[in-house]
Each structure stands twice: as C-alpha cells, then as structure tokens.
Symmetry: C2
Subunit: 292 residues, 2 copies
Amino acid sequence: MVGTAAETTGLAELSANKCFGGWQKRYSHKSNVLKCDMQFSVFIPPISDPNEKLPALYWLSGLTCTDENFSAKAGAQRVAAELGIMLIMPDTSPRGDHIPDAADAAYDLGLGAGFYVNATQEPWHNHYQMYDYIVEELPALIKKEFRVKEKAAIAGHSMGGHGALTIALSNMKQYCSVSAFAPIVNPSDCQWGQKAFNNYLGENQKDWEAYDSCMLMRQQGKFLHIPMLVDQGLDDNFFHTQKLTKPLEEVALELGYEAEFRYHAGYDHSYFFIASFIESHLRFHAEHLLKQ
Amino acid sequence: MVGTAAETTGLAELSANKCFGGWQKRYSHKSNVLKCDMQFSVFIPPISDPNEKLPALYWLSGLTCTDENFSAKAGAQRVAAELGIMLIMPDTSPRGDHIPDAADAAYDLGLGAGFYVNATQEPWHNHYQMYDYIVEELPALIKKEFRVKEKAAIAGHSMGGHGALTIALSNMKQYCSVSAFAPIVNPSDCQWGQKAFNNYLGENQKDWEAYDSCMLMRQQGKFLHIPMLVDQGLDDNFFHTQKLTKPLEEVALELGYEAEFRYHAGYDHSYFFIASFIESHLRFHAEHLLKQ
C-alpha cells in the first residue's frame, strides 16, 4: 500500500535496505501535529500472506537519538523477521531549522529530547507535541499505509522507556504490551525529568503527573492491566540518579501490579545492553501481539 | 592479562561494555609501524576456562569506517558469544592530525582508506603501512595481551574484504580461514583500487599485484589453499563498477580453487546486508578455528 496514498499523507520513501529477508526502510512525512517534516524508520518482516495484518511494535528511543539508532544498533531485525513483527521507529522530537532548541543546545532538552509529552509552555508548545504524535498521528499514518493489527506493542529505552511506559499506562486499550530498557520511571523526581517538565509543562507539578510512570501506575494500575517487562543494567551510570526502573517496581509490588522487572549485573546504559536482551523483549511482545 | 603489560605496549582501555555475557572493549595503543596512536575494538566472549586459548577473528572494515562500525552495527557479538570467538576490529588507516590525508578529504583516499597496503610513495609511506600493522604489529600485541590461538580467522567488508582476502592469500599459514562481504577483488581494474594504488604504490602496476586478490589467487592458489566464503548482494551499487566478488569467483573456477561464493537477491552494500549474514560467517570460521 505504500506509495499509493503518497499524495494524501506526503509520505516519501527515503531509503530501503533488504535485511534478514525483509526491508529496513526510512520515510519522511509532514506532521500536522508537530508542524514540521518528520522521519521515521520501519522494519517490514518477510511477508508470507499479504492479506494477513502485521503485528507491530513501536520503539521509542532515548535522549540524542533519531529514528536510526535502534535500527542500526539493536540487532532487532533478525528476531522481528523470524516472528513476523513490523518495527516502527519514530524520531525523538520535532526537527528542522524552525524548531526551538535548548539555548545551550543541551542534549537533554529540545531537539532529540521531546520526552513524549505535549508541551504547554513557550517556546515549546507550538511544536513539541510528541505525545499526540506517537499516540495518534503516527499510528493513524501507519494504519493508512500498512496492514497492521489493531493493537500495537510499545517499547523504548531511557527517555523512550519513559515514553513507552507512560503512553501504555495511559492507553491500555490501544496497546497489547509494553517493555522498556532502563526507563526513567519517576521523571518528576530526577534531574532529566524535572528539567524537561519545568520547560515543557511549567512549574505546576500537578501537570507532570500524566507523564510520570509511577504516578500513572498508581492511578491506572488498580483498575486496568497491561503486560509489562522492564530490563535494567546494574552498572548503568544513570540507574540511581535518574530514577530508572526501581521506583516503578516498588509501586508495582505495593499495588500487586503484575509485571516483570529484571536486573542484570555488569550491564550499562548503552546499545550493547539493549542488543543483548532485545530478543526476549520481541518474544514477550509477540506472545501478546499474536493473541489478537 | 590486559593491564599488566600496559607499560610495555602503551595499551590503554578506553571503554568496556558488557554485551551478551562478554565484553565489548575499546583500546588505544602506540603503533610503531604506523607512527601514531591507534584505536581498536575487541569483543571478548564469556570465558568458561581461563586457561583455554580463545579462537580469534580479525574484522577489517571498509572505506570511511573506524574500529567502531562493525561492533555497533553487525550484531556479531551474539553468535561470537555463543561460539566463544574473540572479535578483533582494527581501524582502517593511521589516525591523527599529523597523518597525511587526501587533498580534498576524499572518502576513498587517506584517512579511513588505508586499503591494507604498505605505501611506498610520498606523502603516504611514512604512516600508511596498514598491511604490516594488520599482519604483524596488531597480532603481536593481541598475542601479548590476550590468550588467543595461534592461527586466526580474518574477514572484512568491501575495502576490508579486499584486505582480508589479500592478507589471507599472502599468509595462508597464519590464518585458518577467510571470508568477505562484497570485497573489492580486482582493485587493479576499478576506480577505487586504481586511485588508492596509484597514490600509495605508484604507477608501476607490477607493484600492485601483491595487493590484488585475483592476482594472488593465481599466484598462490595453485599450491596452497585456505577455506574461503564470500557473500555478495546483487543490488549492491558497487558490484560491477568496483569489481566486487565475481572476478575472484571466475579465477577460483578456472583454477579449481575450492571456495564458496554466494549471491543474494535484493541485498545492497550496507551493514544491513552484513548483519543479515554475519552469523553464517562466524559459524564457518568457528569450524576452522576450532580444528587447531
């Protein structure tokens, strides 16, 4: 279907590389939500039955990343090809010369650091609407251009792990499962999150709660449940300082929310950690994606 | 053993990331051969018996690459960990502000484009001695610092495939097996090779023969044999223009030199191609490495 509707969505194929029998592709499109051109990458697994709807996994990347880090470094295509899962890899912020950036071009605010929130503050709110982009605009585009199953899986790393968890916990009927590597689970209480939220959402901490996994699990997790897997390296420099993983496990234990939290001695915050465990995340999601 | 001999070799660990139960590491050392500081990467698989010598595979990268491309993009560590193979990933040229580069900083000459030859011409010969670095200096350093088996395997991509094949064909007793992805097999007869050889080796084409896989197989392949596997994508833009793979297969067929050449519809020159087939290369080398 790709190509036929190019006029209506402005979708343009930037590159296509055959990979594990499927296709690694990169697209550009005009985002109405972010008011800029956006790129995203997909992996389309080898397709045996073109009438079958593909199970799809959204991958949200971390600070400084684009749509290309995960596709180049995680080695996910091998297992995605085997399981027949489509991977969808969006960028981490709006992009372009007209997009506001941190005054000092800091890596943890502005370009490459959208934090998957809808900004309400100047100068950000006009473009930094990453929550709506990931939850609404991009899935609508994907459903228009590709044959995918109704519910998707969602996963991510660090800031993207925060994105995946908050989005899944806020939209438990839209996603079948969520997983994360070293996610920022309590951004309201760490430097990365406080800097982003103060800038994007303003000083009223009440407005931060909708984007804090720990708060969301307390609010939503009593009534609804989404299958959840979280991996954390114990030699991750950011583990304690940026409130990764552990505070959410504590909430889950307190609430009796069923989720798997795994800790790995020696592993750090890098893509070498992600590559080492991505296979089990894909198999976890496949189980839930294929139940539909 | 790493660290104990740091004084004598100047070996310094730059980074260490746990990966698939082993360690992805990056080192810097002073190269006497190249007269500069060099970086290289290694993957050390999980080690069950510290007295056992590790089988080791040298990976030579292509134009524009450093020691980090293969370690980040090929996804080789998973299978290397399973098979217990150490991966050694050198840089592709001498490095540093005092190293001559192409006048126009072209990607196919000078920095990032050492072509694995010993240059004889000005301004290159003082530093561009990549053949000696890969065949002698680096293996001596590796043997001093790590417990590795006597014979290594060698593999590479594009310019690095050329390097692996020429080095293996010239040193069949030092290596147990060779493999390549989209190698430049007849550099004497293509633009990349001619540009490099004219600059590094001078205009006398007789001096080019020692670095041309087709010529070397004709010279050496009648008497000696080294197991060889070559993969080539059929949608590789450089397949015909840069004399990749096919001319060597023709020589092998003519001589009755036993080697496996595989062609893959749809695949291009990228790391997505390498990632798709690296597992079978590692299993091929493991078979020969473990015979020692």
